[in-house]
């Protein structure tokens, strides 16, 4: 499904990713762990197509198509979803209007039929109920006045409605206490399916207790230095990044 080949990315003229390669088969959950400055956020923004993240070499293949030069909305319509580390507050844009516009924009790009008002409402209500999101939250402007946990649940709601093929979770646990984290992880786990892959980007092992990965990759200095099963997270927890990275080198 996703294959990143020898990806080099410059940000503000400085090379951050230096030959990242990675394969995520359908239905699998892969984690990218790494110390600060390893290029974790750069990886997620580059996959989502943010301006300013300049791919100088390599490619990102998604279902066999190189998406490197596609606009963010084109990638989203193809099924790439980025859950933001810090979801934006956008005053003046209602959550419902945003959800509807996003769903219908993607349908339009894919050449599918747009939802009518009743279909949309049904879909939102069902997904919101599943994720314990109140009607009141849906009525508010997008993320305005939401707690950290509510913002992340709102991201999960968007994921549930947009039904991506690849969900990239960028530091899903930042700003969450343990109860909020459990709730968000529960929501994510409900969305696991054989057709959907996850790329979980995190600094801490903690998140991986709740969203258990099939494969863990360690990112350091702009490339993957080590891959392994979930036991790798425990090694990191016990010995720290420096020791594990040194051993891999």
């Amino acid at each position: 499904m996703l294959e990143i080949k020898d990806l080099h990315v410059n940000v503000h003229g400085k090379e951050i990713l230096k030959g990242l390669s990675l394969k995520v088969p359908p239905g699998e959950v892969h984690a990218i762990m790494g110390p600060n400055g390893a290029g974790k956020s750069t990886t997620s923004y580059t996959l989502a197509g943010r301006a300013g993240y300049e791919v100088t070499k390599g490619e990102i293949d998604f279902f066999g198509e190189d998406v490197t030069t596609l606009a963010p909305e084109e990638r989203a319509a193809r099924g790439i979803f980025l859950a933001f580390q810090y979801p934006l507050e956008i005053p003046g844009v209602s959550t419902m209007n945003f959800l509807k516009t996003a769903m219908n924009s993607q349908a339009k790009i894919r050449g599918e039929k747009e939802l009518n008002a009743a279909e949309f409402l049904r879909a939102v209500r069902a997904a919101a109920k599943e994720l314990n999101i109140s009607e009141d939250m849906l009525k508010r402007p997008l993320n305005v006045g939401f707690s950290g946990g509510e913002k992340k649940r709102n991201e999960t709601l968007q994921m549930a409605l947009l039904k991506p093929k690849l969900a990239i979770l960028d530091e899903m646990d930042s700003g969450l206490d343990i109860d909020a984290l459990k709730l968000v992880a529960e929501g994510v786990n409900k969305l696991r399916s054989p057709e959907r892959s996850f790329l979980v980007i995190t600094h801490y092992q903690r998140l991986l207790d709740y969203i258990v990965p099939d494969v863990i990759h360690i990112l350091a200095g702009g490339k993957i230095v080590l891959s392994g099963d979930k036991s790798l997270a425990l090694q990191l927890e016990q010995n720290g990044y420096d020791a594990v990275i040194a051993k891999a080198a």
């Binding site: 934006l88 003046g92 924009s105």
Partner: protein, 424 residues
């Protein structure tokens, strides 16, 4: 005073003196004398430094499309003006007690006639003077004490082009104690030159909502002034929406004359191409415990120019004044420009006054967020621009009017999609 435009205006002043009501002749005569001395407002006068009316009127007119007649509102009393002339057959203003200006001014001693030329200090105001000397038509509304008008008054101005001397309108509004009214004033098309001066007085506890919506074509040249006196516990709520024109300026000159008087102004400016839009406000706090709050939001594309001049005067008696003003601008192109000039004159010591100004581009983070959810760039930009005005729109209580104004904002975004979508 030697050029042909000034001479032509002067000729018109002589001709029109006393035409609306003979007793007004003296007032018009004085105004004409001032015009002879001062001429048209121009950039050598500080208040007109960024909006040179004299120059705009001498410049070649911008060619324009044909104006579209705006739809009539459901549930509103209509005063339909075409090229400055009140069309009584198309109007329904009488049902809320409004009268033709000529009727209102018929007797010098009638209550409405008594306020003309007297609301707020206006002596020496070049535009008000010009309008007084040239005034032809208008409308007057008096709302008796305790009366709350159910229907808004829709002042619908359609400009298809007018004579070289322009069209000059006067609106008189008087709300007696505890009265409430809503005025929806729309301008469409392109006057070659028009002035509109509105004078209003709000007695104790009265509440006036004033929604001005300028949807001019590119060649419009208009200067408008709203003068108001607000007594104790009375409120003036204003929403000024403008798309600018070749020259578009609106001034709100308000006096908070009584305790706990309140003025709340929201401005929304959407200008593109080479248009010019000026919002100037002077709010005088002349009594204790009065409050004023103004937020002007501007979206500027192309090589458009926006001007916001906000002056707050706090007199010595006006203790416990709370006065705030804010100008926020979104610049969609590198050639667009916003001029913000705050002025505070404070003579009381126990007051809260604040002013602020921001100018910037659309938030790149928010834009990326929307696009990453599948919303194409142009649509994402439009969403953020609409959101920028959302807070002001939400404050419009009358649902029909709120929707009408929101539609106007969306329409601008549709018709200027190219300019809104691309940074040059």
């Amino acid at each position: 005073m030697t050029d042909s435009l000034s001479e032509s205006l002067l000729g018109a002043m002589e001709q029109r003196r006393g035409a609306v009501a003979p007793w007004l002749g003296a007032l018009q005569g004085q105004a004409t004398e001032v015009f002879k001395r001062e001429g048209l407002p121009n950039r050598r006068v500080e208040a007109w430094r960024y909006s040179d009316l004299a120059k705009a009127l001498r410049d070649d007119p911008v060619a324009d499309a044909t104006p579209v007649v705006p739809p009539s509102l459901q549930r509103a009393a209509l005063a339909a003006f075409v090229d400055g002339a009140l069309d009584d057959n198309a109007s329904s203003y009488a049902q809320i007690g409004a009268v033709n200006l000529r009727t209102a001014l018929g007797e010098k001693d009638s209550p409405l006639a008594a306020i003309i030329g007297k609301v707020y200090p206006q002596a020496g105001h070049p535009l008000v003077n010009l309008n007084t000397a040239l005034l032809e038509e208008g409308l007057a509304l008096r709302v008796p004490a305790g009366t709350k008008l159910d229907l808004p008054l829709h002042l619908r101005f359609l400009w298809t082009g007018a004579g070289s001397d322009g069209r000059h309108l006067r609106l008189l509004i008087q709300l007696e104690e505890g009265a409430e009214a809503t005025i929806y004033e729309t301008h469409d098309g392109a006057p070659t030159f028009s002035t509109v001066v509105t004078e209003f007085t709000l007695a104790k506890g009265a509440k006036l909502t004033h929604i001005r919506q300028e949807s001019f074509l590119a060649g419009a040249r208009q200067a408008a002034v709203t003068l108001g006196e607000i007594a104790d516990k009375a409120t003036y709520r204003a929403f000024y929406f403008s798309q600018g024109g070749q020259f578009a300026r609106h001034e709100a000159l308000l006096k908070l004359a009584g305790e706990e008087a309140h003025a709340e102004l929201d401005g929304a400016v959407m200008v593109a191409g080479g248009r010019h839009c000026d919002n100037t406000t002077v709010i005088e706090h002349a009594a204790p415990n009065a409050t004023s709050n103004q937020v002007f939001r501007s979206v500027l594309a192309g090589s458009a120019r926006g001007v916001y001049q906000g002056c707050i005067k706090v007199g010595q008696v006006a203790q416990k004044t709370d006065a705030r003003q804010l100008s926020r601008a979104l610049l969609l192109s590198h050639k667009a420009e916003i001029v913000t000039k705050p002025e505070l004159e404070i003579f009381a010591d126990d007051v809260k006054c604040s002013h602020g100004a921001t100018a910037g581009e659309l938030d790149a983070n928010a834009l990326f967020f929307l696009r990453a959810r599948g919303i194409p760039e142009a649509e994402a930009r439009a969403m953020l621009i609409e959101a920028f005005f959302g807070e002001a729109l939400d404050k419009i209580e009358n649902e029909i009017l709120r929707e009408a104004v929101a539609k106007n904002v969306s329409f601008w975004l549709t018709t200027h999609a190219g300019e809104a979508a691309h940074v040059e």
